[in-house]
């Protein structure tokens, strides 16, 4: 079933490819149906998930390249299952969002479906070579999405995105090969490496592998100082591309940190935990301050992503060093919660930003004044998404950040204080957005309530964020299935 879920988008991509490109409506509907079927398949995975089982579920293994002991090995854990569902959900919402968009619909739909297969494949892979394969399959379509459907400076942004990520993933590949060679017999199997801890006694090799993985996942996350591609890619990408980038592509890095780096090289991560924590804190504070200075709405949201993903890096550092399993579980659960929460809320923010840009013809934040009068419903959704992102209790961001801060506090007081600083700045910047959009008088009459379809897309995301904010147990129980085990 898991394999079916992963490859359903690819199957629909093939179907879309066979449709005549003149019939854009049929292509859009096929893609949407494909996305919905994928989402349904992903939900059956949830239905069959056993919260009490800490191991791998829905596992499927077959030989792939026997001579080098690489296999097709997919499974879900409490960490990956929410992300797979998130990917399927985002695919469905993105396809719904662009339903009436007929600009080269065929290529567009195929690329998004292909990307979804790559993303879900990464989250499910239990074999490092397969992980790498899906990782890059997810990467290539986004280059074309940014380059073909993006805004003015799209070629530059697309190339920058591709080069950064590729350089990072090659560092990651070297680290994977290092892990492979350290195992006897050589294997790429993630559970086997996690169980054997082959580099536990080798400080140098462990440090090198850690460095490779940090570069690979850090670029994707992104963490300061290798975050530079993100604002450009986000700003230039089309709306649905930004959404995929923020909600899912950044999660590849976050997932890698939590589900690959920590389990495979626990010793090296414990030795260098301070580096992880510092990277996390710097990203967290820097992202907040940088966002504060932005006038371009999309660029602002892009920098808040750096802030939000800083929590994941921080949580990874705390999770690596915490000797108390409860603290470790708190940090990791918070990190995974943050991934989902950020996916929902920042996804919503980018949908909003894109819709506003379409209407006003600009991304300048000040141009969106008066939205509260002209489109009250849409403005309310924006406000809720912003409050969720700044961590207001009752919404998902609070649960996530609260847990990470709690875990940090029990390890290091000063680190927790730095987080609070980032949190205060983030609060200020979101309040500024809300004030401009809701309180200022209207500057242009271009703004209006978007189509019900687009309102629904944002509404679903905000509602889901509120749902797991009010009843976090729904998500926590799944995540904790994995993070509670040492």
């Amino acid at each position: 079933m898991l394999t079916v879920t992963i490859f359903l988008p690819l199957l629909f991509a093939a179907i879309v490819l066979a449709l005549p490109s003149r019939n854009a409506a049929a292509i859009r509907w096929t893609a949407l149906i494909g996305a919905c079927v994928t989402l349904a398949a992903a939900l059956t995975l949830v239905a069959g998930f056993d919260d009490a089982n800490a191991g791998l579920q829905w596992r499927m293994t077959t030989a792939w390249i026997p001579p080098i002991n690489a296999s097709y090995d997919v499974a879900v854990t409490g960490i990956s299952l929410p992300l797979i569902v998130l990917a399927a959900l985002m695919l469905a919402l993105a396809m719904l969002y662009v339903l009436r968009d007929h600009d080269r619909a065929k290529g567009h739909a195929c690329l998004f479906l292909l990307m979804a297969t790559g993303l879900m494949g990464v989250f499910a892979s239990q074999d490092l070579l397969l992980f790498y394969l899906f990782f890059e399959i997810a990467l290539v379509p986004l280059y074309f999405v940014i380059g073909l459907w993006g805004h003015e400076n799209r070629r530059y942004a697309a190339m920058k995105f591709f080069l950064y990520t590729r350089a990072g993933s090659l560092a990651m590949l070297l680290a994977f090969l290092g892990l492979y060679l350290a195992m006897a017999p050589h294997t790429f199997s993630l559970p086997a490496i996690a169980a054997a801890q082959p580099l536990a006694g080798h400080a140098t090799a462990g440090g090198l592998v850690l460095l490779g993985l940090l570069i690979g996942f850090g670029v994707k996350l992104p963490t300061v100082p290798i975050h530079n591609w993100l604002p450009d890619a986000h700003v230039e990408a089309p709306t649905e591309g930004s959404v995929f980038l923020a909600a899912l592509h950044l999660k590849l890095g976050a997932y890698g940190l939590i589900a690959v780096l920590l389990p495979t090289i626990a010793a090296a991560a414990r030795q260098w935990w301070i580096a992880l924590v510092v990277l996390g804190l710097v990203s967290l504070v820097y992202g907040a301050f940088a966002a504060l200075g932005q006038r371009d709405f999309k660029r602002l949201v892009a920098y808040t992503s750096i802030n939000h993903m800083g929590y994941v890096m921080l949580a990874a550092g705390i999770g690596a060093v915490a000797s108390d399993p409860a603290v470790r579980a708190l940090a990791l659960t918070g990190a995974v919660f943050q991934m989902v929460s950020h996916g929902l809320l920042t996804g919503a923010m980018f949908f909003i930003a894109g819709t506003l840009q379409d209407q006003a013809g600009t991304r300048e934040l000040t141009a969106f004044g008066g939205l509260g009068q002209r489109a009250p419903l849409f403005a309310a959704l924006l406000a809720v998404a912003a409050f969720g992102s700044l961590g207001l209790p009752g919404l998902s961001g609070f649960i996530a950040e609260f847990q990470v801060i709690g875990a940090t506090l029990s390890v290091n007081l000063w680190a927790a204080l730095a987080v609070i600083l980032g949190l205060i700045v983030a609060t200020g910047l979101y309040l500024r957005v809300v004030l401009i959009v809701l309180m200022r008088p209207a500057t242009s009459d271009a703004l209006h309530e978007p189509a019900p379809r687009r309102l629904a897309v944002v509404g679903v995301l905000v509602a889901l964020s509120a749902l797991i904010g009010i009843a976090p147990g729904l998500l926590e129980s799944v995540i904790a299935a994995t993070t509670l085990t040492p």
Partner: protein, 474 residues
Amino acid sequence: MKLWAIIPELILVVLCLALVPLAGWLRGRWRQTTGAIALIGLAACMAMTARMLGWAPFTAFDGVYALDPFAAVFKLLIELAAFITVILLMTHFRGQTQATHAPVAVLFATLGAVALVSSNDLVAIVLFIQMMSMAGYVLVSLERTSRRANEAALKYFIYAAVALAVMAYGLSFLYGLTGSLDLRAIGAALHGADQLWVEVALALILAGYGFEVTMAPFHVWAPDVFAGASAPVAGFLSVAPKIAAMAALLRFLLVAFPDRMVGWPWWIAGGAVVSMTLGNLVALRQTRLKRLLAYSTIAQSGYVLAAVAVAGRTPEAVPAAAYYLAAYLFMNLGAFAVAAQLERAVGSDRFEALRGLGRRAPWTAALLTLFLLSLAGIPPLAGFMGKVLVLLRVIDGGMLWLAIIAAINMAIALYYYVHVIAQLYLHPPKHDFVLPQRVGWSAGYALCVAGTLGLGIFPWHFVALADLARHWLE
């Protein structure tokens, strides 16, 4: 005499001898006859070579000619490259007199290349490497009316003459030091020889091998020759001689210089680093497709050389190199095939000519994208698995620094490959043209695509096949 063991070579010899006189007689629509016969002959060669994959290693002609799975694997690749090239050449020169002559020249080059892989003797090495290059001069100058092609042929000839003469001089040192022409005897006797002279000999010999595999600093001929020759010829010359020379280099170093004598892995590693770095950096600034591919082949050679450098320590590096070369065969020939088709349609291979191809000829553009992404090492394509295997063996062989430099280079290389892809899709068209659709192009593409995808998605068969290359005569 074990004639039955050299049937592929015999087929090639017979074809060469028979087709030369025949080619002079053919007129009009019979011009494609030589190509058709060559295809049948090459198919027969491949079938015979494939049968020999499982045979135990032995030698023929008093140890001069080694027949082992190692040789069979590389021969199979060379014959496959020749097969695809003949298809492309027949299509490229359709209706012109060259359509008759080109396949014969390819057969000569193939014969030289195939025999070089098996050569276990200094004289045989010199003979076959010359034979391979000699056919190359003819191939480059096929485009008789083009000044650039003739200039390229002359350059190729002069460089080859010098490099191969230097190599022969170096080989004579080995004979002088050991009194033998046989690689195995040399390998046994060389330990007692004066190491300084061994080093001088190796340096001279590497000039020749370096020339053939475009190892920097012996690569300078490649960009001019590949840009001047017609694209299918450039594709062939960047693939078949390279495969043959890589295999010959492996055999030479591992047999004649056992136990990593005089530190040859470091020499090769240095050559690999310079080749990949130089090739990539210069490729960044190119504005023509064929020249870009030429520099990319130099960089690609660097990756294979990295595997050669560790072959003395990890025997698994040999199959990794074979796998990489197989992937390289398909993706590089494919990229040159697209260049050939464009050249015919637009009369230029400048990047501007590529603009808008994604809209005008979506399939051709998609194919070029596929080949370039494979060259860049994006999964699930052949180049990806090749790079994984090479990096794996290089780390395994204790040269982590080399693997890191190679990985950095692969990241740099992505820029220029994607730059071409951006021309295809992200820029508005500049020229007005119609791409001619012919069966030959489709057949050539189909083989290259099948290889690029097959080796990438279902690598295990060929990984197992390449593994046979570890079995050879020692």
